[in-house]
C-alpha cells in the first residue's frame, strides 16, 4: 500500500513558534536539525499529544487534525505509533504485556497470536516474560518498536530512537532499525540531530531550524545540493565560504575568492544565475581537495582546476584521517579565522606525502566539488 501524508502545523509557545509545512510518502521521513528546532514538538502534534494552534494533518486521506474544520482526533483514535526517546516501556509489565498493550480491543486469542507474531518478527520470542529492566538497550528498542507496530499504525513516529544507546551499539542498531523499518513497510517519521543517522535512515530528509523547515528533499539531493547556507550550517558542512560572482551561466559559475577566480559547476537541476558582483556562498568538502605531489611533473592548468598554493597552519589527527588547516599564500585576511580551507587526507596519504615535514603545498579542487549555495 502506498502512503501519503501532509503536515501543516502552527504552534506558539512562550519564546518559540513552530510553523512548518511538509509532505512525505512511503518510507522514512527524517526530521533533522539542531536541538530545540521543534522536531519533537512536531511529533507530539502528529500523535495528538499536543494541540496545534492552527493547521491540518492528513495521513492516508484520514484527517487527524484540522483547525479550520474543528477536527482534532484524540491520540487514542489516531492509530499513530510512537517510539519515545526513552522508549517509555511499562516497567511493571513483561515484554509480552508491553507489546500487547495496544491490542486490548481484540479478542484474547487474536491478541496473543499478534503478540507472538510481533515478538518473532523482532527476534524477541525468548524474552516474552522478561521485564524491561532485564533487557539490554537494543532489546528495549525492539520492544518499543514492537509495541508501536503491533497496533498496525498508519504512521510510526520515532523520537531520537538511538540516542539512549552508547556509540558502538548505536551504529549496529542504526542498521538494524533501518532493516526493521523497511521490512515492516510502515510510513515513519524519525527525529534526529545526527546527520549520519539521518542519512542512513531516511528516504526523505526535512531540515528544521528554529521552528521552520528550511529544506525538504530526498536524502541524496540534500547531501549534494543543500538549498541554502542555513541548511549547509545545520548539516555541519565544513568550508562554507563567501565570494563574489564573476560570471554565471546555466552550467558554470565563476567566483572571486581570496584573490583567485574559482570555477564551479552550476546546479544541473536548478540553475542558479546570480548577477555579477553579487555575494555568493559555496562550500567545499574537505575530502575533495587534492594535494599535488611534488615528485611528479609540474602541475598543468589543463589537468588541475582551481589551482592554489598554501601553508599548513594547523592539523588534527582523527585516527583514520588527518584534518589540515590550510592558509592561502595570497594576501588578505584568511576566510575562516586563521585559515582558509580545511582539508582531510587519509593517514596513508599523510605519511606518503610526508606532510609532517613538508608544510607548503599546491592543491586543486575540481569544479564539480565546489557547491554553490543559493541565497
Amino acid at each position: 500500500m502506498s502512503h501519503r501524508f501532509s503536515v501543516e502545523i502552527t504552534k506558539r509557545l512562550p519564546g518559540f513558534t513552530l510553523d512548518v509545512s511538509w509532505t512525505a510518502g512511503d518510507g522514512v521521513a527524517v526530521l533533522f536539525g539542531p536541538s530545540g528546532a521543534g522536531k519533537t514538538l512536531t511529533l507530539q502534534c502528529l500523535a495528538g499529544l499536543i494541540r496545534p494552534d492552527a493547521g491540518r494533518v492528513v495521513v492516508d486521506d484520514r484527517v487527524l487534525f484540522d483547525a479550520a474544520a474543528g477536527v482534532n482526533l484524540p491520540p487514542q483514535q489516531r492509530r499513530v505509533g510512537y517510539v519515545f526517546q526513552s522508549y517509555a516501556l511499562f516497567p511493571h509489565l513483561t515484554v509480552a504485556g508491553n507489546v500487547g498493550f495496544g491490542l486490548r480491543d481484540r479478542p484474547r486469542h487474536a491478541r496473543e497470536r499478534r503478540v507472538v507474531e510481533v515478538l518473532e518478527r523482532l527476534d524477541l520470542a525468548g524474552l516474552a516474560h522478561r521485564r524491561p529492566s532485564e533487557l539490554s538497550g537494543g532489546q528495549r528498542q525492539r520492544v518499543a518498536l514492537g509495541r508501536a507496530l503491533a497496533i498496525d499504525p498508519a504512521l510510526l513516529l520515532l523520537d531520537e530512537p538511538l540516542s539512549a544507546l552508547d556509540a558502538p551499539l548505536r551504529r549496529a542498531l542504526r542498521d538494524e532499525l533501518r532493516s526493521i523499518l523497511s521490512g515492516w513497510g510502515t510510513a515513519a517519521v524519525l527525529v534526529t540531530h545526527d546527520f549520519t543517522e539521518a542519512y542512513r535512515l531516511a528516504d526523505r530528509i526535512i531540515v528544521y531550524e528554529n521552528g521552520r523547515v528550511i529544506q525538504s528533499a530526498p536524502r541524496a539531493e540534500l547531501l549534494w545540493q543543500p538549498a541554502s547556507e542555513a541548511v549547509a550550517r545545520v548539516m555541519g558542512l565544513r568550508n562554507v565560504l563567501h565570494g563574489v560572482v564573476v560570471k554565471a551561466t546555466p552550467d558554470r559559475i565563476q567566483i572571486a575568492w581570496r584573490g583567485h577566480t574559482l570555477e564551479a559547476v552550476n546546479s544541473p537541476t536548478r540553475s542558479y544565475l546570480p548577477a555579477p558582483e553579487s555575494p555568493i556562498a559555496f562550500f567545499i568538502r574537505p575530502e575533495y581537495v587534492r594535494l599535488i605531489r611534488k615528485d611528479r611533473s609540474a602541475p598543468d592548468a589543463a589537468h588541475h582546476m582551481n589551482l592554489m598554493r598554501g601553508t599548513v597552519v594547523g592539523e588534527a589527527d582523527f585516527g583514520t584521517v588527518w584534518s589540515l588547516r590550510l592558509r592561502l599564500d595570497t594576501p588578505g585576511a584568511p576566510s575562516q579565522g586563521d585559515f582558509d580551507l580545511e582539508v582531510e587526507v587519509p593517514h596513508l596519504v599523510y605519511e606518503i606525502l610526508e606532510i609532517e615535514r613538508d608544510r607548503h603545498w599546491e592543491f586543486s579542487i575540481h569544479r564539480g566539488s565546489i557547491h554553490v549555495l543559493p541565497t
Binding site: 500523535a47 487514542q76 526513552s86 517509555a88 480491543d105 497496533i151
Partner: protein
C-alpha cells in the same frame, strides 16, 4: 484488660480502618488531580487539604464543629431536617481521623504519582487507552509503593488521633472513647495499669502495621 479498654481498642481499630478507607476513596483521586491536572482553585484545594498537618488538632476540631456541629453550617440543616447530628457519634471520630490523616496520604501519594514518567501515560494514550484506564493500568500500579506508604501513614495517624476527635466526637466511654482518649482518661484518674496496657496494645498494633506495610512494599518492588 478491662471491658472499657477492650471497647476502646475495638473502636480505635474500627475508626482507623474506616478513616483509612475514606482516605483511599477521597485521597487517591485528589492526589491524582493535584499531581496531573491544572484546574481553577487547585492551590486552594492543596492548602485546605494540607492545613490539618500544620494547625493544632484542636483548631482543626474547632473548624469541624463549626462545619458539622449541631449549629454548624452543614450540621444545622441536617439537624433541622432529621433531628440527628454527627457530633458526639463514632462517625464524628471517623471524620476527625479522616481529615487529620488526609494530608499525609495526599502528599505521599501525590509525590508518588508525580514521579511516574508522564511519557508512560502518553505512550498508553497512543496505544488507545483512555485517561481513566491509563490511571488504573499505568499510573496507580507504578505509584503503588508510595500510595501504600501513604495509606500506612494515614492509618497510623487515624489510630493516634486525639485533639480533633475530642473536639468533634467527645470522650463518651463505649461510644467515642478511642484508645488515645482512654489512655488520657486513665492517666488522669490514676489507673496506671489500664494506661500501660493500652499504651502497649497501641504500640504493638503500630509495629504490626509497619511490618505488614514493609512486606507489602517489598513485594511490590
Amino acid at each position: 484488660m478491662s471491658a472499657e479498654a477492650l471497647s476502646a481498642l475495638g473502636l480505635s481499630i474500627r475508626v482507623a480502618v474506616a478513616a483509612t478507607l475514606l482516605n483511599a476513596l477521597i485521597g487517591i483521586p485528589l492526589a491524582y488531580l493535584l499531581a496531573r491536572r491544572a484546574f481553577r482553585g487547585r492551590a486552594l484545594v492543596d492548602l485546605v487539604v494540607t492545613l490539618p498537618l500544620v494547625l493544632p488538632p484542636t483548631v482543626t476540631g474547632y473548624y469541624l464543629i463549626v462545619l458539622l456541629g449541631r449549629r454548624g453550617w452543614l450540621g444545622a440543616p441536617v439537624y433541622a431536617l432529621s433531628g440527628w447530628s454527627v457530633a458526639f457519634t463514632w462517625y464524628a471520630a471517623v471524620i476527625a481521623a479522616t481529615v487529620m490523616a488526609l494530608p499525609l496520604l495526599v502528599r505521599t501519594a501525590r509525590a508518588a504519582i508525580e514521579s511516574v514518567d508522564r511519557e508512560l501515560e502518553k505512550a498508553a494514550f497512543t496505544l488507545g487507552r483512555s485517561e481513566w484506564r491509563t490511571v488504573l493500568e499505568v499510573t496507580l500500579p507504578l505509584a503503588r509503593n508510595g500510595i501504600i506508604a501513604g495509606l500506612v501513614l494515614a492509618f497510623a495517624r487515624a489510630l493516634g488521633e486525639f485533639g480533633a476527635t475530642l473536639m468533634l466526637a467527645g470522650n463518651i466511654p463505649g461510644k467515642t472513647t478511642t484508645v488515645p482518649l482512654a489512655i488520657y482518661t486513665a492517666v488522669q484518674t490514676g489507673e496506671m495499669g489500664e494506661a500501660v496496657a493500652l499504651v502497649l496494645a497501641l504500640t504493638a498494633l503500630s509495629c504490626l502495621v509497619l511490618i505488614l506495610a514493609g512486606r507489602l512494599g517489598a513485594r511490590a518492588a
